[in-house]
């Protein structure tokens, strides 16, 4: 298509082609003399500089009106999405080949670095089961600790392979951070496997609870070291589950948060596939 149009465009100019590129008599290049070119280019240079200046000015004014801590509108993210780690919706590995699942393990390990106890010495303990409200007062908000140890078997401390070696992989779940979000009720994660007979699962912390003390979130600038609460699910797969693709769906339950939006499949829920090859 491009080539035919190109030809059509050229055809018209064929007659005056040579002259229109460079006319030796008048010294015109592409129909303009050097000074004419200089003038028009100068005009466009000045014009575009002015436009760039105007754009920069309006952008600057706009940025001045913004708050550093909270975005002006938050109505486009009213509800949190649910995300898993390792960051893949298709977890397939050979349990007997460590190279095969190394990526997942490394990913989880690096993700959990922030949750090391050593990183959280500055954080004060909060009252479990209550929102940690810090309105007013200092702009920098305090952070409730979330310790890696609370993930127990899935913390990667006792079992550095996160159960991938034994074919009972751990999957971490986290709710997206949303400024000012205070879920009503007691949020917990519940996972199901679409399969004839249920697969045993182990949740850490127990029952997959997400404590309310981690809410609300005050934003990146105020809540710099905010620890996002995690829930780990250990899929206790048995021999007969191997070599099959299992669809696992996890939802946030027990709250007013949406987990059944028709269009957004990741709002308060997440579906991923697990396949363990023996």
């Amino acid at each position: 298509m491009a080539s035919t149009e190109d030809k059509a465009a050229n055809k018209e100019n064929v007659s005056s082609w040579k002259d229109s590129i460079y006319n030796p008599r008048t010294g015109e290049l592409l129909g303009r003399t050097a000074s004419s070119w200089a003038l028009i280019l100068l005009f466009y240079l000045v014009f575009y500089c002015f436009l760039a200046g105007m754009f920069a000015l309006t952008m600057w004014v706009m940025l001045l009106t913004l708050d550093d801590y909270v975005p002006r509108y938050r109505d486009r993210v009213p509800e949190p999405g649910l995300v898993i780690r390792p960051n893949s919706l298709d977890i397939t590995f050979n349990k007997s080949d460590s190279k095969n699942y190394k990526n997942y393990v490394n990913h989880l390990e690096s993700f959990l670095q922030r949750y090391n106890d050593s990183m959280q010495e500055n954080n004060e303990e909060c009252i479990p089961g209550e929102y940690y409200m810090q309105d007013g007062g200092e702009m920098t908000k305090k952070v409730c600790p979330f310790r890696r140890t609370s993930l127990s078997l899935c913390s990667g401390l006792s079992d550095t392979d996160f159960g991938y070696q034994e074919g009972k992989p751990c999957v971490l779940l986290k709710m997206n951070r949303i400024i000012g979000l205070k879920p009503i009720g007691d949020p917990y994660i519940n996972c199901t496997v679409k399969k004839d007979h249920p697969v045993q699962m182990h949740y850490f912390p127990s029952e997959g609870r997400i404590d309310k003390m981690y809410f609300p979130y005050y934003g990146k600038k105020a809540h710099e070291n905010y620890m996002q609460p995690l829930v780990a699910v250990k899929l206790l797969l048995t021999k007969e589950d191997y070599n099959k693709e299992l669809a696992v769906e996890c939802r946030v339950e027990g709250t007013n948060l949406r987990n059944n939006d028709e269009r957004d499949k990741f709002l308060g829920r997440v579906t991923f596939r697990v396949k363990v090859v023996e």
């Binding site: 149009e5 706009m62 990146k220």
Partner: protein, 972 residues
């Protein structure tokens, strides 16, 4: 559906299966039956099993015992996604618009049709047959009112006259007789031509040519065989498309190379290339142009210019030369009494169509006598039932000059019929070409006066020969040499005006020789036909239409050269040319100069004469160079006695000199020229079907003045199309830059395909069309016609303004709105650069914004689509300013005013449409457009204001410095 059926029959089976049925519980009942019952049901046997035949039958009935494979996306759906996905939808919409444009065009065209009968004599019997079945050699009879069915050689005729005006342009009916009178077949009396009309009398003749071989057929074949070039507007649009294509390909290739450098894969780069080229196509523009032309065509139709070919609307505006036929176009195509000579004085009659001209002294006794002669010695009469119609418009049975006399007398002296009733006709000798006179004998009005009145009219010199006295101031005086001299001078003068002169005389026959009841023998004349009393001369002409001189003047001031091309005689042509201003006052022809200086024509320098009258026979001998020379050096030209082929040559000559030529004409003889011309203008009332078919435009009222309207409308639409295109093209830049930035700096796409379409085919449409209603900025009839080589519809200056300047401001306005929305939702501009890959990753559902919030794919897509909507709304906002600045090319908006109501409507319409698309519930699903917060509407306001101020400043400098740099670089 057909494809689907053919390619995957299994799929159909699944589709037709009742889903509700499947949703019910398992319908198995066999478990409750006994084994025997089950065997019966399946016609099987517990021991033997099924027979082979049954098994085969059941296999055929139920299909194989395998699960239906799960529905996968069929290949054709995948193909369709490619076919209609992304920017391809822009192309498809363009294709659909082509159908629409064609439908509009097809609906505005209509063709006339006709059908005919002929009376032939075959095997001695007269038969009425279809004219199409006439063959060469047929003996044919025609009578007054018939259309001649083929070229015929007349064998016998009785007062037969044919109207050759459509073929030769002669206004007067020509008599036909069996004698050969001229070498030229077109001039000789014994041939009547196909499709001319027999006006009166009867004739018989042998068909010599039929169909395409007839003179008329040859002209028609010549006409249809002519290659007509593209209309000027078509050439302009083609040029415009070349420019747009050039820009699109240039941009596409640039970004293709850039994409490769930036590390995109080949396939992605090619998709970008196609996307950019397609996005550059202004989808709505050609439809807008069509609609603008249609609107103008409608407006012109209201002013009696019917446009057959839509593109011809503009052609009149570009016209630099008009070749006009005389008869019926410049003139009324109706003989009218123009002058009278009596009492040794020339009197001027009123020739205007509405009788608004000056009247002459009607009190003279001579005039009474003259009018009596003219009324009595006249066989014409009004057709019945026309008492309510004004005299000039009544239909008359009779020959053209007699009806002219009839109307003139009826107008000045009252009812001619009463006069004829009072003076009963006793005898009559009709006009014939040997006598060249017509006479009749009447009783007198006075019942006591038993004398007879003999009245005679005819060729003046013949009449004069028969007269011995002349009537002056009502008294008979002997005809002396002095009076003869006066007569000659008057005759010469009237003849020199191109008028047809008739002489009138009468005598009261002495009672003693011709007592009451005398038997006048008209075959063997037994009464006095000389020593008559000369009464006067009456001259007639086909007078120019009232509006023509004014129209010719307007064409002149609009820089349009008006050339007369006629089949009529040079003297008549010249007289009419002078009358309508084609030869303006004070301009002389070579012959005039020669006559004034009393030197031979050959000694006059042709350059001294601005005007010239060229005879068809001279034209034949001219070389192409001489022809060019004449057309170039004379401003006022009249071609007389031209054949259809010569008319064509004249048109071609003008076109060779670079002129855009309009030809007006009504006859078949004009049709080759009509077809060859850039725009052919035919006459709606008097025009022949052939000429109407060859023409691009039809003047419904036959009025040359309508052409001026056409020129004005054509020039206006050309100017307004420029504005419309400038307006539409401008929004191309804010439509294409988002995609470019999407590629280069990897930001989320700021404007999607759907929204681009909403602009091109939605909000931009009505405003662009409304510019067609814009009033002219200056007196467009005072400037020269555009030079097609230089003054283009779309030139680089228009592109520079639209793309380089206004478009850029608009794009910034859109981008500003985009950045505002993303920033206010948490994504600051600094974070956006390079975010694209993550942004468009469906599996990434915790994308972090500048405030630490995390977004799912759907959530951020909603923000992105809100940005599309805001970008779209911003384009609408900046297009307000663009529309207002596009109203004028030179004047300030404050000078031009906001009188264009359609334009104001357009402003409101596009805003309402934008609001509707943004706020209407369900749009988020249908078009993925989301409601905007009120403040986001104002993001582009500073840019809209900037556009207005910038362009007003530009136009101010442009007006202050005519011919300056700003005009050279930015006046489009």
């Amino acid at each position: 559906m057909g494809d689907k059926d053919d390619r995957s029959p299994k799929k159909k089976k699944g589709a037709t299966k009742d889903m509700d049925d499947l949703k019910k519980e398992v319908p198995i009942t066999e478990h409750k039956m006994s084994v025997e019952e089950v065997c019966r049901k399946f016609q099987t046997d517990v021991v033997q099993g099924l027979t082979n035949a049954k098994a085969a039958e059941f296999l055929l009935r139920d299909g194989p015992n395998a699960l239906t494979p799960p529905p996968t996306t069929p290949e054709w759906v995948k193909f369709c996604r490619q076919l209609f996905g992304g920017f391809s939808i822009l192309l498809w919409t363009g294709a659909i618009l082509c159908f629409l444009a064609y439908a509009i065009q097809a609906a505005t065209e209509d063709e006339p049709a006709g059908d005919n009968q002929a009376l032939v004599i075959r095997e001695g019997e007269k038969v009425q047959i279809n004219a199409e079945e006439v063959v060469a050699g047929d003996l044919i009879e025609v009578k007054g009112g018939d259309r001649i069915p083929a070229d015929i050689r007349v064998t016998s005729a009785h007062g037969c006259k044919v109207d050759n005006s459509s073929l030769t342009g002669e206004s007067e009916p020509q008599s036909r007789s069996p004698d050969c009178t001229h070498d030229n077949p077109l001039e000789t009396r014994n041939v009547a031509f196909f499709s001319t009309n027999c006006v009166e009398g009867t004739a018989r003749g042998i068909v010599i040519c039929t169909g395409d071989r007839t003179v008329m057929g040859r002209i028609a074949t010549l006409t249809s065989g002519l290659e007509t070039g593209k209309t000027p507007i078509a050439r302009e649009i083609e040029h415009f498309i070349h420019i747009i294509t050039g820009v699109a390909v240039f941009l596409g290739v640039t970004f293709f190379i850039l994409a490769i450098i930036l590390g995109y894969t080949w396939l992605e780069a090619v998709i970008f290339l196609i996307g950019i080229i397609v996005a550059n196509v202004p989808e709505g523009l050609l439809a807008t142009v069509t609609v603008c032309l249609t609107l103008t065509a409608k407006r012109m139709a209201k002013k009696n210019c019917l446009v057959k070919n839509l593109e011809a609307v503009e052609t009149l505006g570009s016209t630099s030369t008009i070749c006009s036929d005389k008869t019926g176009t410049l003139t009324q195509n109706r003989m009218t009494v123009a002058h009278m000579w009596f009492d040794n004085q020339i009197h001027e009659a009123d020739t205007t169509e509405d009788q608004s001209g000056a009247a002459f002294d009607k009190s003279s006794v001579t005039w009474l006598s003259l009018s009596r002669v003219a009324a009595l010695c006249n066989r014409a009469q009004f057709k019945a039932g026309q008492d309510s119609v004004s005299i000039l418009k009544r239909d008359v049975a009779g020959d053209a000059s007699e009806s002219a006399l009839l109307k003139c007398i009826e107008l000045s002296c009252g009812s001619v019929r009463m006069m004829r009733d009072k003076n009963k006709k006793v005898a009559e000798i009709p006009f014939n070409s040997t006598n060249k006179y017509q006479l009749s004998v009447h009783e007198t009005e006075d019942p006591n006066d038993n004398r007879y009145l003999l009245v005679m009219k005819g060729a003046p010199e013949r009449i004069l020969d028969r007269c011995s006295t002349i009537m002056l101031q009502g008294k008979e005086q002997p005809m002396d040499e002095e009076m003869k001299e006066a007569f000659q001078n008057a005759y010469m003068e009237l003849g020199g005006l191109g008028e047809r002169v008739l002489g009138f005389c009468h005598v009261l026959l002495p009672e003693d020789q011709y007592p009451k009841g005398f038997a006048f023998d008209t075959d063997d004349v037994n009464f006095q036909t000389d020593n008559l009393c000369f009464v006067g001369l009456i001259s007639m002409i086909d007078p120019p239409r009232a509006a023509v001189p004014d129209a010719v003047g307007k064409c002149r001031s609009a820089g349009i050269k008006v050339i007369m091309v006629t089949g009529d005689h040079p003297i008549t042509a010249k007289a009419i040319a002078k009358g309508v201003g084609i030869i303006s006052e004070g301009n002389e022809t070579v012959e005039d100069i020669a006559a004034r200086l009393n030197i031979p024509v050959s000694q006059v320098n042709p350059r001294d004469a601005k005007a010239c009258v060229i005879h068809g026979s001279d034209l034949k001998d001219l070389s192409q160079d001489q022809m060019d020379d004449i057309l170039r050096n004379h401003t006022e030209i009249v071609f007389a006695r031209t054949s259809p082929q010569q008319k064509l040559i004249i048109v071609e000559g003008c076109q060779r000199l670079g002129a855009i030529v309009a030809v007006t004409g009504d006859g078949v003889n004009d049709s080759p020229a009509l077809k060859k011309a850039d725009i052919g203008v035919a006459m709606g009332i008097s025009g022949s079907d052939v000429s109407k078919q060859a023409a691009d435009m039809i003047l419904l009222d036959d009025n040359f003045a309508s052409i001026v309207t056409g020129v004005e409308e054509g020039r206006l639409i050309f100017d307004n199309l420029k504005k419309s295109i400038a307006y539409t093209l401008t929004s191309n830049i804010p439509e294409i830059t988002p995609f470019l930035f999407f590629i280069i700096v990897n930001i989320p796409l700021p404007l999607g395909t759907i929204t681009i379409l909403c602009i091109d085919l939605g909000t931009d449409m009505v405003p662009a069309i409304s510019l067609a209603y814009e009033a002219a900025e200056s007196d467009i009839m005072k400037r020269q016609p555009r030079n097609p080589a230089r003054d283009k519809l779309v030139n680089e200056r228009l592109i520079s303004i639209a793309y380089g300047q206004i478009g850029m401001i608009q794009a910034l306005g859109g981008f500003f709105a985009y950045f505002v929305i993303l920033a206010e939702n948490g994504f600051l501009p600094s974070q956006l650069v390079g975010i694209r890959l993550n942004w468009d990753d469906r599996s990434l559902n915790d994308l972090e914004d500048s405030y630490g919030q995390q977004w799912t794919y759907e959530q951020r897509k909603i923000v992105e689509f809100t940005c599309h909507t805001a970008f779209f709304v911003s384009i609408v906002v900046v297009q307000w300013a663009d529309l207002i600045i596009c109203k004028t090319r030179r004047n300030s908006v404050f000078q031009q005013g906001m009188k264009n109501k359609i334009l104001i409507f357009g402003l409101f319409e596009e805003t309402a449409l934008a609001a509707f698309l943004s706020y209407c519930p369900g749009m988020d699903v249908a078009l993925r457009m989301y409601p905007l917060k009120p403040t986001w509407w104002f993001c582009a306001f500073p840019y809209s204001f900037l556009i207005f101020v910038y362009d007003e400043a530009r136009k101010l400098i442009l007006r202050r410095n005519p011919g300056g740099w700003v005009e050279k670089e930015t006046y489009y």
